[in-house]
Symmetry: none
DNA sequence: TATGAATGAGGATTCATTCAT
DNA sequence: AATGAATGAATCCTCATTCAT
């Protein structure tokens, strides 16, 4: 029969991350002020600084938490043979990662210019480059290389571009994955047929 | 018998647009201050206000100038039959538009969060939606609808994602277009085969 | 019959310098906020930033204006022979410099810890070192070297320590100079007598 | 049979004083934050508040501990005749006091502007004034009064100004004292000779 | 066609301090 | 004897914008 505590417990740090990500995704990083974040949480700006050293730090901490699956994916992929099957599986898992932290990836896509100057910018760019490297084969024809790259970025784009289109979300997601996998498959088939 | 003018003549307005776009594309809209633009041009901030009513106005004017080809494309497409051939041509022309104002489209892509709040945001979004509507057939299977949409966005993504990859720019551009057209074609073939 | 202008003319920059120096000297650099300076001038903080890039910049500009005589003195001294007569004249001129910008030098003395971190810190330290170098002879006995150095610093200290003591300011100033010159003279006499 | 305690025992209060003085002397009072002090000690800011009521309180407590010798000196001097010999001894003892808490006196000298607003400011100023009163004779000529005052302040200045000069520290200290005593002596001789 | 001078609103950040535990 | 969490007030500084000249 404990009374509801008047002051929030030890979850403030996490609540900051949640609210911040939400606002960052909604309005952009620059347009979201710490005042705004603080107000949403009913704390003072200074409280944010108790938990994070800078505004950028909030974003970094969020990124660290949410980009983990992509790291795992890259690490896993590095142990696999560079076959078509592996690549299809990479895309499948990437789809999971993307949809598992949609808000965050939406933020990253819509704030590229801003993020580029931030420390997570390089980090992220290199992850995407790593994934791209795992899919693309330098020996392929230019067109097929584009197919591999397009497989990756179609998923990014698909995630948001399809938001406005009616239809069951899961079905859409499956369709996007299918198209991406189709591109990779086509690239490989193409190369096998025409040496 | 006029002496050569020491200072640039009536081209200031245009020079503002050029410098602004360059800086917007490089650093993002928010991170680019009017002071910075003015300094690059060796004029005062106040001079910018003689030519444009607001910061946003500079961007709007740039957008008006550069987005024209896309408007033309949409207008033209409206007069054409919704055939595969038309759609392939739409993509081809869109490729021209994109590469013809690469800086601007790069800006739009990397500053989506910011642009969304600006008046050109809606404008632009509706143009993309219009293009997408010209390519996508609501009657198609979800997968094929995704293919149509992916054709469009692959070009956006391709434009920048391929920057880091070695190879002749023109060849890359052709390859990107080919992949995009391939997607549309595949969507149509698919639908024709499996009614 | 022109009416008194409502807005101050072009003297704002200078008025900022004056007020700033006054407040810096009175309360110290850190304790003086830009808000305070602005209020004293009946302008906005932002106005200060129109004229100076940073708070430190205000101080730098003041220092540049007021430390000129010391530079002149050093330059002049460099062209003179290192005789006792020269040194006595250095002290005399230094007295002029000090009393000519008393507020500023008082500030420098009372804010050493702060000034040390600022860019003018090094600048100033090196000037004092230069002066000291012009007065001190490394070949002298330690005691006489101290006399030379004390001649310099007695003037600094005297300037303020004597403020509380009754008496005609000009007479005090003359007495301080005399004591300083006496120290230098004694150092030289001493060295001549005991080789 | 007590185990060696892992954490420092009851000496925290003293450690705070030590670290605080060190940082105050190094960076100045205002530039030294309680966070910084706490970090150097590996405790929380709140811990400082267990031992001291305010930031100023830390400084006050340090001053109380370190200024004792000067109080003793003043008390002792009050019981002595105002002879030249007494004054020379005052300077000698003052030299001891100064060198015995060099960090603290350096702090006081370099932070005059700040200290002036603090409660120890008045305290300290009055001590120096008391010392000065013990050395200076209002009946002396202005020049000789300046000599007396200069004797006192030369020691302050000497302490730090001579830091950059090569030579044995003890020898320097002795030389500084000698010069100071010389000034007092000269003042007295002068007065005796020219009544 | 521009500038010089200024403003008002707001930004991120830091600080000394408090208090329940 | 000390901490974790938080606050309120202040800091420096930047920005888009205005307007008389």
């Amino acid at each position: 029969m404990m009374a509801t505590p008047q002051v929030r417990r030890g979850d403030t740090r996490q609540r900051i991350q949640e609210v911040a990500l939400e606002l960052f995704a909604e309005q952009g990083y620059e347009k979201t002020s710490l005042r705004e974040i603080a107000e949403h949480l009913d704390v003072t700006k200074a409280a944010l600084y108790y938990h994070f050293k800078t505004k950028e730090d909030i974003l970094i901490s969020v990124a660290k938490d949410l980009a983990g699956p992509v790291d795992d994916l890259i690490a896993w992929a590095a142990t696999q043979p560079r076959t078509l099957a592996t690549k299809r599986e990479i895309l499948r898992r990437y789809s999971d990662a993307l949809w598992g932290a949609a808000n965050f990836f939406r933020f990253m896509q819509e704030n590229q210019a801003t993020v580029r100057e931030l420390s997570i910018g390089e980090t992220f760019k290199s992850k995407i480059a790593a994934l791209n490297g795992l899919l693309r084969e330098p020996g392929f024809s230019m067109t097929d290389q584009v197919r591999c790259t397009a497989a990756l970025f179609s998923m990014h784009a698909g995630m948001f571009a399809m938001q406005n289109i009616e239809g069951d979300p899961e079905e859409k997601r499956a369709a996007i994955l299918e198209v991406a996998q189709g591109l990779i498959t086509e690239a490989h088939r193409d190369q096998t047929e025409t040496p």
